[in-house]
Symmetry: C2
Amino acid sequence: MHATPLAAIDPFHLPGIEHRTLAGAAQGLATLEVWHQSLDPGAATPPHSHDFDEVVVLLEGEAEVDEAGDLRRIAAPATVVLRAGRAHRIANVGTVAVRLVAAFAASPARARGPDGSLIPLPWEACETA
Amino acid sequence: MHATPLAAIDPFHLPGIEHRTLAGAAQGLATLEVWHQSLDPGAATPPHSHDFDEVVVLLEGEAEVDEAGDLRRIAAPATVVLRAGRAHRIANVGTVAVRLVAAFAASPARARGPDGSLIPLPWEACETA
């Protein structure tokens, strides 16, 4: 069994975002991947999409989620379903860190930019090596 | 976009366990399902398996996880990967509630008992109706 304390996973950083892959290809998974992310107040993910469905479990904080122009302000605890191929962006619009768990129906969970090209994610090089 | 506050989801109860399906077939998902569960101190899931992989994100509490005889005591925050077809059981061995998010690579996320037969889950009738 893979059992991993959160503190044992070194985080990766994007501007204002702390990312940990909790489980995925590195643990032998192909059809499931789970992330943990913290977003500082004011921080936002870049607009991106995935080729597979995503479920975001908002654990703490207040986020604005934009999925293909459908804009919602969502306070934790709450769940957001983001469908395959639809561009989305998650922004922390509150005053405390947003903490979330995101589950994906594929691993590695790659992301595409608005032009459809794959976005290089800083943690991919480590996980797919 | 499906965006659902946790409080808007009525829980189902098994002995000592409070279950909410955060996202799954009811939201149009077929290859991804996410649950939220709370286990009272001393409570445990029945032994069961799934035909697909599962990732458990332990948010709070202390659990004993048995996967096919591999027994671990795991304190939150931590992640556990449970592989398709392997029987597992999660018990709260601490003094506070165990709170977890579980992600599955299929929806509806059915469970099998030790004899391989499908376990009727109280929430299935509502979600697949």
